[in-house]
């Protein structure tokens, strides 16, 4: 569900960072209740009445999920270019990038780095819907692949929170190839026994759901998140029928067997902590079972 229907590009920066408007009071787009803004923030940007989860920025997710001060951003040096010199009815992609970056060229639709959750080390990637709809272009693909590589070399868990409409059209076929790139790295994690937890936030669709988001060893989802391959509008236009209630929502996706657990935002950190301890314990035991390295040869 789109809580605030205005296009983010047309909103001033203060509004864009978080799709929750400034002010003392705000209205829940889920139930219409007028909510006290500080109370909503205290509830991790969810509605106290209907439980709606408002869409938040990558920075907000990092603050909610990671141990305080534990997040070290990495791969910010991987930055977007305009390989196709793409322009559409509204102008050049290169200009759109500059506008979305708002002075910080490291800003993109994913933030990656090291973190700890309940003291467990991990590599964390969080997508940001506020940057071009969280779309995956070359930078998203490369940062996610590098995050996967780091987790694999250090044998610590990879956690990716997806929040994206899919592949980024402005980078054409190169965006599509990011699906293969991220999956190639995940194939290595799979073979080498390195854990990967995928968290699906609203929305997770298109080339993101059809690549890394659906490949978690464990797949968690926020309540009511839209999860699917095709967007509901495209499906409605193709089949010319109304879609069933709840279609493609997290609960529907879980019922059909594609999500392990639906976890409210306030419980996500504790759930991740439990899983990360399980994986760390498994890794410790695996190391214990490995044959000891050969003893150094005695000196002559």
């Amino acid at each position: 569900m789109t809580w605030f229907r205005k296009k983010s590009a047309q909103l001033p920066m203060a509004f864009r960072r978080r799709e929750v408007p400034d002010g003392v009071w705000m209205k829940c787009a889920g139930c219409g209740e007028i909510l006290y803004r500080r109370e909503v923030e205290r509830r991790l940007w969810t509605c106290g009445r209907c439980g709606a989860h408002f869409r938040i920025s990558a920075a907000d997710y990092v603050a909610i999920l990671a141990d305080e001060g534990s997040f070290t951003p990495l791969f910010g040096e991987v930055q977007s270019v305009d390989p196709l010199e793409f322009s559409d009815a509204r102008g050049r992609y290169a200009d759109k990038l500059l506008e979305e970056q708002a002075g910080d060229p490291a800003r993109e639709a994913v933030v990656t780095g090291r973190a700890r959750i309940e003291s467990q080390p991990l590599v964390l990637a969080v997508m940001d819907f506020h940057f071009l709809g969280g779309s995956m272009g070359s930078v998203v693909g490369e940062r996610i692949a590098r995050a996967g590589g780091l987790a694999r070399r250090e044998r610590i868990a990879l956690v990716i929170l997806s929040c994206s409409g899919g592949a980024r059209m402005h980078e054409g076929i190169l965006s599509l190839m990011q699906m293969a790139k991220t999956c190639a790295e995940l194939g290595r994690l799979h073979e080498e026994g390195v854990p990967y937890i995928s968290i699906l936030a609203d929305p997770t669709t298109g080339g993101v759901s059809a690549s890394f988001a659906m490949l978690g060893d464990v797949i968690l989802a926020e309540p009511n998140a839209l999860i699917g391959f095709a967007g509901p509008r495209v499906i409605r236009e193709t089949i010319r029928e109304e879609l069933p209630p709840g279609f493609q929502r997290a609960e529907f996706t879980q019922e059909h067997g594609f999500v392990d657990l639906i976890v409210p935002r306030g419980e996500m950190r504790a759930t991740l902590g439990r899983l990360l301890r399980y994986f760390a314990d498994s890794e410790g035991r695996r190391r214990h079972r490995l044959p000891a390295p050969p003893a150094p040869a005695p000196r002559a």
Partner: protein, 320 residues
């Protein structure tokens, strides 16, 4: 429209019809028409060259979607022998938008997988216009893993508008099916050679298009989104599809330049549908060349090279 010609083909088709009529008339009436026939043939050649040397991206899209364009089941008998089709995903259903099976290619056993469109309304209803559902992708993976079990190469033909956007497809995990295929194809321990023969429609194409060698027919296109879909989002109207087609840079020469495909396979004069056998011969030579290069590789080396190929794709700063 089955059998229909594209607007820009029309003058050429008419001229060729005139030549054919004159040839028939001359032979029936025993007339001397060689000089005129030669003149018309030269005219047709130059007209064909003029039309095909300067195609817009949108005209290439129309050629890739040409109602007479050869499909997987047209290529299979021209390229393979002893084809045995394997059906069903062994979990839910058979999906006829993808054809898969075992065959011999120039005397070596291979697995073949390809999208299949229909040539008329009835066939298209059966083939779902070449738009697979999850069970199609799962069948494709099953057959590819069967090839892996026996150490045989996989050859795929890509020609789809995209994965089917429907309620059932979503319920049965369209996204998961595509994701799994893409990941498993990056680690399959046998050679994979891909030929984009028509429309490379986004994730629905990629789900059978991860390979060690990826070729494109000259007038095929391969895109992150259909030109109509892109136009309706970024131009707010599907009418702007020709503009989107140009902006997306998805033609075979574009993809070759970007390093996404390894080779552009030239089509016969007037495109593949004018001479399917000639198109098949070109594809066959490319497949044979690729397999000769790949079959000697150790499976581990093969997979590492394939991963490295995809891990290197993308454009960002600083340049890798």
């Amino acid at each position: 429209m089955p059998g229909g010609w594209l607007d820009f083909e029309q003058p050429l088709v008419e001229l060729e019809q005139r030549i054919e009529d004159l040839r028939l008339l001359a032979s029936r009436e025993n007339l001397e028409a060689d000089r005129e026939l030669k003149r018309l043939a030269e005219k047709a050649d130059s007209l064909r060259r003029r039309i095909f040397s300067d195609l817009t991206p949108w005209q290439r899209v129309q050629l890739a979607r040409h109602p007479q364009r050869p499909y997987t089941l047209d290529y299979i008998p021209m390229l393979f022998s002893d084809f045995v089709e394997l059906r069903g995903d062994r979990a839910f259903a058979e999906d006829t938008a993808i054809v898969a099976g075992l065959a011999r290619f120039r005397d070596r056993p291979v697995a073949v997988v390809g999208h299949q469109k229909g040539r008329n309304t009835r066939e298209n209803l059966r083939r779902n216009f070449g738009m697979p559902q999850p069970e199609g992708y799962r069948k494709a993976l099953r057959v590819m893993q069967l090839a892996e079990k026996f150490g045989n190469p996989v050859i795929t033909f890509v020609d789809t508008p995209g994965a089917y956007p429907g309620i059932g497809a979503e319920e049965r995990g369209q996204a998961e099916a595509i994701a799994r295929n893409v990941r498993e194809m990056t680690r399959l321990r046998v050679p994979i050679v891909v030929v984009v023969t028509g429309e490379g429609g986004s994730g629905g194409a990629l789900a059978i298009a991860v390979g060690d060698r990826v070729y494109m027919l000259e007038y095929a296109f391969y895109s992150v989104i259909s030109p109509e879909g892109c136009a309706s989002i970024l131009w707010k109207t599907r009418e702007k599809a020709p503009e989107a087609a140009a902006a997306l840079r998805f033609t075979a020469p574009d993809l070759l330049e970007m390093g996404v495909v390894d080779g552009l396979l030239p089509e016969p004069p007037g495109a593949a549908h004018r001479s399917p056998a000639a198109a098949a011969a070109t594809i066959g030579d490319a497949l044979a060349g690729a397999l000769a290069e790949l079959e000697g590789l150790d499976p581990g080396e093969l997979v590492e090279r394939r991963r490295a190929r995809y891990l290197a794709m993308g454009a960002y700063a600083p340049e890798p």
